[in-house]
Chain length 543, copies 2
């Protein structure tokens, strides 16, 4: 269906759109500005248990749920993150849902789409060039070349760029120094774009980005460099949400895609807030499991969105629960009711967490062919005992038809429950208090240990007035703890905070636990080896 | 005017286009394929004398000529290169003509446009990542890390990236080695895109790119790495010509923009060939002066285009002729008839060169307010004595009205002259013979000296069968010689060839004379400092 017809469904006219071909469009910011005082619809947050190699299908369920809501007559918009080219070329090929629960045009979305990632890469690297140029051209701000924290970025998997030396080859090539490249989705530029409410807000956030320290150890910002206008200009189109559709023609905003460890892991603020104005139901998802994605959605994004979810959907599979119950990937085909039971404690913890936030939750059991009747029966019984609503979904196989039970139960949950959102911590908490709150209440840990450097940074940040910001914990996505091997519901663990990274533009402080890779590598046989385009235009190997 | 109305003028339907908003579109490759057997229209090549800081206005005259041709009732398409973000952010702000002879939407064209440059950057760096990954993952092809010739690229001015070390920080970050970044327009990827006639041709060219030598000193190609399919996939949209318009609504293809020193400096083959099928008159331009741009257009692009120009327009200004006659930039405001006379020998050489190719030429004298009556009279007289047609243009000030005399004379020249294109050299010439031909006949030099390395390379390339390719000389644009200080018409100079760079994908051998900078730097006060975007969407400082 042409994108204008999709736009019609949510009352967007031709003038509200910037077309990118017949199947993609951006929504003009002045339209968004006009919608500002409209009433919000209902917000449904899709999250999951901690991911396992067995796969949970969170995006697929999000797509299927949106289609099913549309199918039962609810005006619905889906808001998703946009993919990065790095993983597409590397590990997995492209993705935006799967089976009969997909977002289209999938090829475009997984390649250059509307150029947002490229605009971010360009703005990121333009800023890096301005910094190096400033040092080269007299260094009026006295930037310390050994303390430039702003890294370069590419939207690719390229381990050789993780750590580099730049400015080599003699005086005319600038100041030699150590540097590195992040994948664009890990860059603060992406987080800034995703949390900006307008061009003015974007510029205000850009100004606050700390790029380096000067020789006195004081922070140097984009404002000091006077380039926020040029950077905002490079990002002006990227700030507009992208409109596409599911294969069942539900409108979808695919916009922004920050990492869920080093950043907050949700699609853009503008996409979600605009969807809320245009539809009765907005379905959105958060990255990784609920400990990382949902926590950050609720503690970092919601304060800006000024709207908490009306319901949370936690996606599980029996396979994944069995892995959390101690079964190895190769043994998942075998029935193992006991493992489902053992794994259930993991799901239970995430359910408790949503209760803690005061949010109604429902479990979506995403069907796999290997699920057995006994396993299914046990899981249903366990959920019933806890009084948790649940629905089985088969949207990959059956599209919206496979999600109707879930859609109806979600609507029922929203209509019968009064959410009373309770934030996890107030802004006035110290950094240490905030992290303790997250670790103890959300992860279920015993406490937090801080490195000497982390302690020094907390003191310094407090003096600089940065401690009012929320915390973004960079942690393994595989476990509630910071040890990827500890599946299920680990107890009595402590989380070690190695270092903080202030992201003043994004508006949060990243707490690094363990080693976080911000530039992935390619596997021995990259997905790219199978990709091709024929003279007919036919594409192979992208999915 | 909406782009569909512009497309209507040249009989392109909605189905032939991929819209990028209301004012930009790409032309589908299957439409281009369908046009293959249509008759070609007339081709007008706009070139100039060697550029000076006084400015010649070649692009402005190209735009004005196309508008004037349209104005006098000729179906006309203009085909231009697309700009790079690096210089836009750096030295000069954006550009696509000027005054009343402009291409619009100028803001878009000078920012991300339709994403072609970003696709090229991505393909370039994906290839680099595949190479480094191959070496890291066992290095089956035995690529020598010290002999990787494929560099990374960004579409920015960034001197700190000219020479870098990658793969630092330990074993898991790949193989440490020296590397560097070129500006994207200097990358072979750009030249490949600009000379490809189809997706198949693009893939064939990609396959042939030499990226490195193996430990035995043998060339390693993209074909060996098996990634031409993935790279072509990344470039499939970028291969489609972009349609925009002049402010007087003449259709313009703005597509591809390779450097005119390290590459061949013209817009894409597909843009020019498609324009020839769709209009009676195609106006196109070549980079820098006629010694670099026109020579490469004629000896590198024409063999693939299979169509030589029907007329060549050489743009001059009295100011620039005075500089070639020895006047300093600061003294240009003063009348100096003698300097015009001295500078005329420079123009004369370029006119002789066009005669050498068998092409009818006309001089466009682009007016400046500082031109005096005496200077004008002398220049007219000199041209008359030589029997060279000429026309004064004031398209910057007056749009198409300022180019009518030129347009009428160009049409008259085409209708009354039979061009008989004579290529400068046959493919069978040796590399040395080809370079001698260019230097002696086009530059007017006495001979060529080759470094020891260049001689070794010529032998090696001959053995590898690469010597049938045309030569792309990388030389200063400011002089007919390889010394930028030698203005006018220098004599008895030799050109020193330092080194060759085989560009097997592009299909030419680059001969490096002197130092060629393939990654520019930013000035002390980059243009970016003045750029801004307001909440209203208004842009300032881009031009």
């Amino acid at each position: 269906m042409e994108i204008q017809s999709i736009a019609d469904k949510i009352h967007l006219t031709k003038d509200d759109l910037e077309l990118y071909g017949n199947y993609k469009a951006k929504i003009h910011l002045d339209k968004i500005e006009h919608l500002k005082n409209e009433k919000n619809g209902h917000l449904i947050l899709v999250t999951s248990i901690n991911p396992t190699p067995a796969g949970e299908g969170k995006s697929t369920v999000s797509v299927g749920l949106a289609d099913a809501l549309t199918h039962i007559g609810k005006s619905t918009i889906l808001a998703l993150r946009e993919p990065s080219l790095g993983p597409t070329m590397g590990m997995k090929g492209g993705a935006a849902g799967g089976g009969y629960a997909q977002v289209v045009p999938m090829e475009d979305i997984n390649l250059h789409f509307t150029g947002d990632l490229h605009a971010l890469t360009t703005a990121n690297n333009a800023l890096a060039a301005f910094i190096d140029n400033h040092m080269y051209q007299g260094n009026e701000l006295q930037i310390d070349p050994d303390n430039v924290s702003w890294k370069r970025a590419l939207d690719l998997n390229d381990r050789a760029l993780r750590q580099v030396k730049v400015g080599l080859g003699g005086k005319t090539n600038g100041i030699p120094r150590e540097d590195g490249f992040d994948i664009t989705v890990a860059s603060e530029m992406m987080a800034v774009l995703c949390l900006s409410a307008s061009i003015e807000d974007l510029k205000a956030r850009l100004r606050q980005i700390v790029v380096a320290e000067n020789t006195k150890g004081e922070p140097v910002t984009v404002e000091d460099l006077k380039v926020e206008g040029a950077l905002a200009l490079l990002l002006k189109d990227a700030l507009q949400p992208n409109l596409v559709q599911t294969i069942e023609h539900t409108p979808v905003f695919v916009h922004g895609g920050p990492f869920a460890n080093i950043a907050h892991g949700c699609n853009s603020l503008l996409a979600t807030s605009t969807a809320l104005k245009l539809a009765d139901y907005t379905v959105t998802e958060a990255g990784f499991g609920a400990d990382l994605g949902a926590e950050k959605f609720l503690d970092i994004k919601v304060p800006h969105l000024k709207k908490a979810p009306d319901a949370v959907v936690i996606v599980v599979t029996i396979r994944a629960l069995k892995m959390h119950g101690g079964v190895a990937l190769k043994d998942l085909q075998k029935e193992n009711v006991e493992a489902v039971k053992r794994g259930f404690v993991h799901l239970e913890k995430h359910l408790q967490n949503m209760q803690r936030y005061g949010l109604p939750a429902i479990v979506a059991i995403n069907e796999f062919s290997s699920d057995t009747k006994n396993e299914e029966a046990l899981l249903s019984q366990l959920l019933k005992e806890k009084g948790v609503p649940a629905a089985r979904t088969s949207v990959w196989q059956n599209g919206s038809q496979g999600g109707i039970e879930l859609a109806e139960k979600v609507v029922d949950l929203i209509e019968t429950t009064e959410p009373s959102f309770m934030p996890l911590y107030p802004a006035s908490f110290t950094i240490e208090e905030k992290i303790n709150k997250i670790v103890k209440e959300i992860y279920g840990g015993a406490g937090v240990s801080f490195s000497k450097k982390a302690r020094q940074q907390m003191n310094q940040f407090a003096k600089r007035g940065w401690d009012h910001l929320p915390i973004c914990i960079a942690k393994t996505q595989y476990s509630l703890s910071d040890d990827p091997e500890k599946l299920g519901c680990p107890k009595d663990f402590t989380i070690s905070v190695r270092e903080f990274v202030p992201k003043l533009g994004a508006g949060f402080i990243v707490a690094l636990t363990g080693k976080v890779l911000t530039m992935p590598g390619l596997p021995k046989q990259p997905a790219a080896l199978k990709m091709d385009i024929l003279e007919t235009g036919e594409i192979t190997g992208l999915f």
